[in-house]
C-alpha cells in the first residue's frame, strides 16, 4: 500500500496539489484536501479497474473532494447567513482568503487573474485550470470532469469569455478608482 502511495506521489502530487489549490485558493485547505484525496485513493486502489488512466482517476477523485468541500462551505455559509439574517446581501461578505506568497510576488495582471478565476462557475474554473494552467488535453479534461468533449469545449469557451469580461471589468474599476 505504501509503495502505491510513493508511486502516486512521485507521479502526480505536484499537479494534484496545484489543481486543488487553484480550485480552493487556500494553501492550508488544499493541504487538507490533498490528504483526503490520497485516503480515498488508497482505500479504493484495489478496486481501480484501469478503465481510465491512473492520472484521470486521481484527478477525478480530487475534483469530487473539492466539490464536496464547496458544498460543505456553502451549507456552512447558508447557516451563517440565516443566523444573521443577511439574506440576499450575503454576497457582500468579503472573501478574505490570504493570497499565497507565490501569487503575491507576481505582477498585477496575474494577481487580477487569480481573483477573476474565483468569479467563474466551478465547472468553468475546473476546465480552465486543467486546460490552461495544467496544460491537459481536452480528452483528459473531459475524463477527469466526467464531461463530454463538446461540453468541455463549450464550458471552456464560456469560461474564457467570462474571464475576459471580468478582467476588463477589473481594469475599468482600477481606472475609475485612480481618476477619483
Amino acid at each position: 500500500m505504501d509503495s502505491v502511495f510513493q508511486d502516486l506521489y512521485e507521479k502526480y502530487h505536484k499537479d494534484l496539489f496545484q489543481f486543488i489549490f487553484y480550485m480552493v485558493k487556500n494553501r492550508e485547505q488544499a493541504e487538507d484536501l490533498v490528504q483526503e484525496v490520497y485516503i480515498k485513493v488508497m482505500n479504493s486502489y484495489d478496486r481501480f479497474k484501469g478503465d481510465s488512466s491512473e492520472k484521470t482517476w486521481m484527478f477525478s477523485i480530487a475534483r469530487h473532494v473539492t466539490i464536496d468541500f464547496f458544498r460543505k462551505q456553502k451549507r456552512k455559509r447558508n447557516r451563517i447567513m440565516e443566523f444573521f439574517d443577511w439574506g440576499e446581501h450575503g454576497h457582500f461578505i468579503q472573501d478574505d482568503q490570504p493570497i499565497p506568497e507565490e501569487i503575491a510576488l507576481q505582477n498585477e495582471e496575474i494577481q487580477k487573474m487569480y481573483h477573476c478565476l474565483e468569479r467563474c462557475t466551478t465547472d468553468q474554473k475546473s476546465v480552465i485550470i486543467l486546460r490552461y494552467i495544467q496544460s491537459m488535453s481536452i480528452q483528459e479534461t473531459a475524463d477527469i470532469l466526467g464531461m463530454s468533449v463538446s461540453k468541455v469545449k463549450t464550458t471552456q469557451h464560456r469560461g474564457m469569455k467570462a474571464l475576459q469580461t471580468y478582467m476588463n471589468e477589473e481594469d475599468e474599476e482600477g481606472i475609475k478608482s485612480e481618476t477619483k
Binding site: M1, D2, S3, F5, Q6, D7, Y9, H13, K14, F17, Q18, F21, Y22, R27, E28, Q29, A30, E31, D32, V34, Q35, E36, Y38, I39, M42, N43, P100, E102, I103, L105, Q106, E109, I110, M113, Y114, I128, Y132, I133, S135, M160, L163, Q164, M167, N168, D171, E172, G174, I175, E178, T179
Partner: protein
C-alpha cells in the same frame, strides 16, 4: 491615467499559462504520516461500527426468537389451563407462568424498544462519528501521528538506524498488504526505501544482510556476508546490537542468531564470535529532533529493573546533547499509575498545560509505545483535558501500537 487594456482570448491564455506553481509544503513523509493516522482512525471506527452492528444483530435475533417462541407457546399453555382445572396448584403455577410470560413479553418489548432506541442512538452516534471524522479532516490536518497500529491486513517491517550522536536507535516502519508479501521478503527488500539523509540518521547497517525469520521458534537468523564491515568501536557495536533488537522486537522473537556466510557467529570489535543476541531489553521512546529531518521517535534503552513509573517519569527528560526531547511536558505530571494485568492506567496531573493537541498526541503515543516495552497491551489515560485527540478516544482504553515512525515503502513489492 491608466489606459484601458482590452484582454483578448490569447492574452487571457498567456496569463493563465503564467500562473505560478504553488507547491505543497508538506514533505511526502509528513503527508504519509498524516494520511496513515487518518486511515487508521477511519479503520478503527469502521471496525467498531461493524462489531456493534454484529452485536446488535445477534441481540435482535435472540429477542425475535424469544418473542416467536412465546407467541407459539402461549396459546397452547392457555389451552392446557382451560382443560385442566383439577389442580389448583398447577393453576397457580400456570397463572404464574402466564404472569411471568407476560412480564417476559413486557420485558422483551422493553428490550426491543430499548434496543431499537439503542440502535437509533447507535446509528445517530455512528453518523455523528462519521461526520465528526469528516470535520476532523480539517481540524486535525496538522497533527502528526508517529505510530503504526496493528492491522490484520498488513505486514510491517522495521529498519533501525543510529542517531547522529551514535547513542541511540531510531526505528522506522514500512507496511505492505499481507497478501502481497511475506514478512521475510519485506525485511529483505527495504534498501530502496531508505532515505537516511532526509531522516537525519546514520546509514542503515544491514543492506547486504539477509534475514531468515522463524516466528514459530521465535528466532531470527541474520546472515552477514564475509566482507561485511562489522563495527569496531564499542559505540558502533552498541548501535549495531540495539538496531537488531529494535527491528525484531515487535515480532515476538526471543533470539537473534548471527551468522557469517552461514557459519554461526560474528566478530565484533569487543565481542569476537558473538553467536546470538537476547532480545529482551526494555526501552522508552522520546522525540529525536535532528536539525535536518523530521521529528521521529527514538528508542532509548533503560535498565532491566526499571519500573513503568520510572520509565514514564524519564519521558519528561530532555537530552539536548543528543537533540532528544522528552515527550511529557514539564508542566504535566504523571500521577498515580495502576496496573491490572496487561492494562496500564495513567493519571495525568496538570492536563491543562499542554501546548496544543500535537504535544498531547506525541505524549500519548510515546507512553503507548513505552508501555508496550513493559508488556502492557492497553493503556487508559485519565484526566486529560480532551475526550479525543488524533485517532484516540481518550474515554476508552487504547491498544498499544505495533511500532513507530511510519514511512512509505518506495519500491514495488517483490
Amino acid at each position: 491615467m491608466k489606459r484601458n487594456k482590452y484582454h483578448s482570448n490569447d492574452s487571457i491564455k498567456d496569463l493563465l499559462k503564467n500562473m505560478p506553481d504553488v507547491e505543497d509544503r508538506q514533505s511526502s513523509e509528513d503527508l504519509y504520516r498524516k494520511i496513515s493516522a487518518k486511515r487508521n482512525k477511519e479503520l478503527q471506527r469502521q471496525s467498531k461500527r461493524k462489531k456493534l452492528a454484529t452485536g446488535w444483530g445477534v441481540g435482535m435475533a435472540s429477542v425475535a426468537a424469544i418473542i416467536i417462541f412465546l407467541i407459539a407457546a402461549l396459546p397452547s399453555m392457555q389451552q392446557e389451563q382451560a382443560y385442566d382445572t383439577s389442580s389448583s396448584d398447577e393453576s397457580v403455577e400456570l397463572s404464574n407462568d402466564q404472569a411471568e410470560s407476560k412480564d417476559g413479553d413486557q420485558k422483551e418489548n422493553e428490550i426491543d424498544r430499548s434496543s431499537d432506541a439503542n440502535t437509533q442512538e447507535e446509528s445517530s452516534s455512528s453518523e455523528k462519528a462519521e461526520s465528526s471524522f469528516h470535520d476532523s479532516m480539517t481540524t486535525e490536518s496538522s497533527l502528526i501521528s508517529r505510530v503504526v497500529t496493528n492491522n490484520e491486513n498488513e505486514l510491517h517491517a522495521i529498519a533501525a538506524f543510529g542517531d547522529f550522536q551514535g547513542q541511540y536507535v531510531v526505528p522506522v516502519t514500512f507496511s505492505v498488504l499481507k497478501e502481497s508479501n511475506t514478512m521475510e521478503q519485506l525485511y529483505n527488500s527495504l534498501e530502496g526505501s531508505l532515505d537516511e539523509d532526509e531522516w537525519g540518521v546514520r546509514a542503515y547497517q544491514f543492506s547486504s544482510v539477509s534475514f531468515d525469520i522463524n516466528k514459530e521458534e521465535g528466532v531470527v537468523v541474520v546472515n552477514f556476508p564475509e566482507d561485511y564491515d562489522f563495527p569496531e568501536s564499542s559505540t558502533q557495536e552498541n548501535i549495531f546490537i540495539m538496531s537488531l533488537k529494535v527491528m525484531f522486537g515487535p515480532l515476538d522473537v526471543n533470539t537473534i542468531k548471527l551468522e557469517t556466510e552461514g557459519e554461526s557467529g560474528v566478530n565484533l570489535g569487543n565481542n569476537t564470535g558473538l553467536e546470538e543476541i537476547n532480545i529482551s531489553k526494555r526501552s522508552i521512546y522520546k522525540l529525536y529532533t535532528p536539525q535536518n529531518g523530521p521529528q521521529l521517535f527514538i528508542s532509548i534503552p533503560v535498565n532491566q529493573g526499571t519500573t513503568i513509573a520510572e520509565a514514564l517519569n524519564e519521558l519528561k527528560v530532555d537530552e539536548p546533547a543528543f537533540t532528544i526531547e522528552g515527550t511529557i511536558p514539564k508542566a504535566v505530571d504523571i500521577g498515580d499509575i495502576t496496573t491490572n494485568g496487561e492494562l496500564l492506567e495513567v493519571n495525568i496531573n496538570g492536563g491543562d498545560n499542554f501546548d496544543g493537541d500535537q504535544q498531547m498526541l506525541t505524549m500519548i503515543e510515546s507512553i503507548l509505545i513505552t508501555a508496550k516495552q513493559f508488556g502492557f497491551t492497553q493503556v487508559k489515560f485519565n484526566h486529560l483535558p480532551k475526550d479525543e485527540v488524533g485517532m484516540y478516544d481518550l474515554n476508552k482504553t487504547i491498544s498499544v501500537p505495533y511500532s513507530v515512525n511510519p514511512m512509505p515503502l518506495q519500491q514495488s513489492a517483490p
